[in-house]
């Protein structure tokens, strides 16, 4: 057992944006609510709470996931990166954040942190050779997958945007992978 469990609560240590955070969590509590309510990191958004919109997307051990469906108790020892942690310690936003600004890749902004985290995860996945639904099956396995617009669209389809900023988001992602 990695965490100390007592009844319906456990102690967990998460490394959030580089800082270790130890908390006692209700087993029912999902990562999203820990971030938003316990750690005052409201960048990850609650759009549906059921893995149906992607607004809560964060990176856990470098992989993009829906934080609304991850029980915090399961994440003891994990590295978590939220939109607040992308810029590092510097003042300057991450290049993808900058590209979202320049392309106007958002309107209301509520899906935006999830889109950005998801895009970073997706770019890493393609680099690691992960195919997508639109990848040509004949493409040799194990090699990086080039991201054209259809690839970006498919890979970001788990992030809904009701303002309809999709075309601009795709452009912003293209800006940083070129």
């Amino acid at each position: 057992m990695g965490s100390h469990s007592h009844g319906h609560h456990s102690d967990v240590t998460l490394r959030v944006n580089g800082k270790p955070r130890t908390l006692t969590v209700d087993h029912r509590r999902v990562l999203l609510d820990v971030l938003r309510d316990d750690l005052d990191l409201p960048g990850a958004k609650k759009g549906c709470d059921h893995g149906q919109c992607g607004a809560c997307t964060v990176l856990v051990d470098g992989r993009r996931v829906n934080s609304c469906l991850l029980l915090a108790v399961c994440l003891d020892g994990c590295d978590i990166t939220t939109v607040e942690g992308l810029a590092g310690d510097g003042e300057e936003p991450h290049p993808l954040q900058r590209a979202f600004l320049e392309r106007d890749g958002f309107q209301c902004g509520y899906c935006t942190p999830g889109q950005i985290c998801s895009a970073l995860g997706a770019v890493a996945e393609a680099e690691a050779g992960h195919p997508s639904h639109v990848t040509d099956p004949a493409l040799p396995s194990g090699r990086p997958v080039p991201l054209d617009r259809d690839e970006i669209r498919e890979r970001l389809s788990g992030n809904l945007c009701r303002c309809g900023a999709y075309p601009r988001i795709v452009e912003a992602v293209e800006d940083v992978i070129r």
């Binding site: 209700d26 409201p42 498919e154």
Partner: protein, 700 residues
């Protein structure tokens, strides 16, 4: 040479953009609030009836549950104009999903668990939620939404139709649709020292304050409502929703801050929806394409809580010259959730039907659909006879046709195939009225050389902060960086809500005026400014809402190319292009996003979005984002938005028309017309999902 950022139309970057992309912009549930409680509503589980008993004992026994509000003990509310807000006031259940209790707890988990432990007994009654054209309860309302007369008639449309050489008599059906902004309706309320502070997700915090003052019988001075960042609304946050009332009640009861963040699945029942509309279109035309008769008759539903009539026949009063016409609404009150505004209420479903029928007429006549529309261009507004302040629909159609290579289109349907795909293109016109409401603004010149503009505008993603600052900088003739702007709080000069594409016009006007006055004051004086600077105010009451002798509308044209898969029935948009004539465009960057965003929602209306009223249970079956399909990235191709310059002196000092809604208007018709062109089959019920397409293709 780059244009200065203050130039009208310059693509200034969103002022709050950096906060949004870094996760620092705080929405209604995200303001630090020590001791805050969370609440979870309990929705009614019958479609009609009464609550006979609520047992809260089990819920109250759960660790963390603080209190449960029920109709028996919730704070009493005064009457308001909006009966959907009279929550927990009596035992009546007017529709499934109506809130019958609220559990307030120390944590979300406890609140949700508590809600599951509340036992509610009902006396259920027979319900009826099924809309039909011939429903016996249907009636002709006095007005449709927006204050439009329910029925207008010119000439003798029935006789004119009967004697027309070419006739189209068709019915269309638009299902209920849901706004589903990405941020669910959320409010945090806190009472402190007799003052109420509310953070809410709203398109107009001023309206929220006014309604709260009414419901809780408070002086408005004692209420502050903040809506600094709002995660979309699309009409559903144009009026306060039950989350606001419940949060205030719970804060009153507990003496602590309370957040009510509505679960996504609860939204369809309590935040309004686009009502389903059944359309009958009859178009009669002469051989040259000129309309001799136009009849658009709409049947829609409303709830028993409140009458709301989707004004879907009203665009036909604006669009085309027809010697005789009838535009009429009929509404059926059912045991359904209360419909309300959703992006371009009236125009979105109305123009879907009208513009689809125009396409059918063009086919009957053997005429190009662009030419048919041009042939029916009116000299004055058909219904009112007023002159148009500006109307460049023909220019939009022609410019769109040029950009889309419309001339290379083979007009015959089902002539373009790529493997299993059938390809087609379609066109439809768009229109949206110019609306403006009175607002106030202040402008202040500060000794450090900066300026502060204050107005309770809402920025729901439209970029209002940015464009208002541009208007101010433009008038003051200063660099944009020197203008600070504050919006989104009732602490600021009162302004109208963000709705009806009215924001920029309504707010820009007093900003323009206050800054004009300030510039004059500054021009008249020399020497340093006093410590608090120099301030001016403006109020457009009586002017922004004055009747105009002109008919004022934005116009546009949409062109779409679709591919229909004959194996799966899947229909996808390959190209989508809009051209708009919407007055002066004040920020090219954010305006393009508005237009494109509207088209994306129109794409959803055409292909993926649809909700079903469950006849047996009385609610919407597609209540979450897994089943109600808003378009995803993969559904949306590159989309082009263009505009034609329009110089209209009859609007406001900026010369602007609204742009937030016109993008959705007609887009579904352009896509539907393209689907017909691709397949040769008319599909008259939205959305064009594989089941409908396959049924249509195999039924030929």
């Amino acid at each position: 040479m780059p244009e200065p950022a203050t130039a009208p139309g310059a693509p200034a970057e969103r002022r709050e953009g950096r906060l949004k992309v870094t996760g620092s912009a705080r929405y209604a549930a995200e303001h630090p609030s020590p001791g805050r409680l969370q609440a979870w509503p309990v929705p009614a589980a019958v479609a009609r009836g009464r609550v006979t008993r609520i047992d809260t004992a089990a819920a109250l026994d759960l660790p963390g549950v603080v209190t449960v509000l029920t109709p028996d003990d919730a704070p009493r509310l005064a009457e308001s104009d909006d009966a959907t807000l009279a929550v927990l006031q009596d035992a009546r259940v007017p529709h499934r999903g109506w809130f019958v209790a609220l559990v307030v707890a120390e944590s979300l988990e406890a609140a949700r668990d508590g809600a599951a432990a509340v036992h509610v007994a009902y006396a259920a009654e027979e319900h009826d939620v099924t809309l039909t054209e011939t429903h016996p309860a249907g009636y002709v309302p006095e007005q449709a939404n927006g204050g439009y007369p329910a029925v207008r008639e010119q000439g003798d449309p029935e006789a004119a139709f009967a004697s027309s050489e070419t006739r189209v008599d068709v019915r269309y059906r638009v299902p209920p649709l849901h706004n589903h902004p990405m941020e669910p309706h959320t409010t945090t309320a806190h009472w402190e020292d007799g003052r109420l502070t509310v953070h809410t997700s709203s398109q107009g915090s001023g309206v929220v304050r006014a309604v709260l003052a009414q419901l809780f019988e408070l002086d408005e001075e004692r209420i502050t409502v903040h809506a600094e960042h709002v995660g979309g609304g699309f009409g559903s946050k144009g009026t306060p929703r039950p989350d606001v009332v419940l949060a205030v009640m719970a804060a009153l009861r507990t003496g602590r801050p309370v957040t009510v963040a509505l679960p996504r699945r609860f939204l369809p029942a309590v935040v309004g929806h686009r009502a389903p509309t059944l359309h009958r279109l009859r178009l009669g035309a002469a051989p040259d394409g000129r309309l001799t008769s136009l009849l658009h008759e709409v049947t829609t539903h409303t709830s028993h809580v409140k009458e709301f009539v989707e004004q879907a026949a009203t665009p036909a009063r604006v669009m085309y010259a027809a010697a005789s016409s009838r535009t009429a609404h009929r509404v059926v009150p059912l045991d359904v959730p209360t419909p309300s505004w959703m992006r371009a209420p009236g125009e979105a479903p109305g123009m879907y039907a009208l513009e689809s029928a125009m396409d059918e007429l063009a086919a009957e006549l053997g005429m190009d659909p662009v030419d048919l529309r041009v042939a029916n261009e009116p000299e004055t507004e058909p219904d009112s006879g007023k002159p148009f302040s500006s109307r460049h629909l023909v220019e939009c159609l022609r410019e769109g046709a040029r950009r889309f290579d419309w001339d290379r289109r083979d007009p015959r349907p089902r002539t373009w195939a790529e493997g299993d795909l059938l390809i087609g293109t379609g066109v439809a016109a768009a229109t949206y009225p110019v609306m403006m409401w009175p607002s106030k603004a202040s402008a202040r010149a500060l000794p450090d050389g900066t300026f502060l503009v204050r107005i309770n505008a809402a920025d729901i993603g439209t970029g209002s902060r940015t464009v208002l600052a541009q208007i101010a900088a433009d008038v003051l003739e200063v660099p944009l960086e020197r203008v600070r702007i504050e919006v989104g709080s009732t602490e600021l000069p009162a302004a109208s809500l963000a709705g009806g594409s009215s924001g920029t016009a309504s707010w820009g006007w007093p900003v323009h005026e206050a800054c004009t006055r300030l510039a004059a004051l500054l021009g008249d004086r020399s020497g340093p400014l006093p410590g608090q600077g120099l301030a001016t105010e403006a109020d457009t009451a009586g002017r922004a809402d004055a009747d105009s002798p002109y008919a004022r509308h934005a116009f546009g044209a949409h062109f779409a190319e679709v591919a229909v898969d004959t194996v799966t029935g899947e229909t996808r948009v390959r190209r989508l292009l809009g051209v708009y004539a919407a007055g002066r465009i004040l920020n090219a960057r954010t305006a393009r996003s508005q237009f494109v965003g509207g088209m994306v929602m129109g794409l959803g209306m055409a292909l993926t979005e649809g909700s079903t009223v469950d006849a047996a249970f009385g609610d919407f079956t597609e209540s979450d984002l897994a089943s109600y399909h808003v378009p995803a990235h993969a559904d949306v191709p590159d989309i082009e938005a263009h505009w034609v310059d329009e110089d209209d002196p009859h609007l406001n000092p900026m010369g602007s028309k609204g742009i937030g809604e016109i993008g959705i208007v007609g887009t579904a018709a352009a896509i539907g017309n393209a689907a017909h062109h691709a397949t040769g089959v008319r599909f008259r019920e939205l959305p064009l999902t594989p089941d409908r397409i396959l049924t249509g293709l195999t039924g030929r």
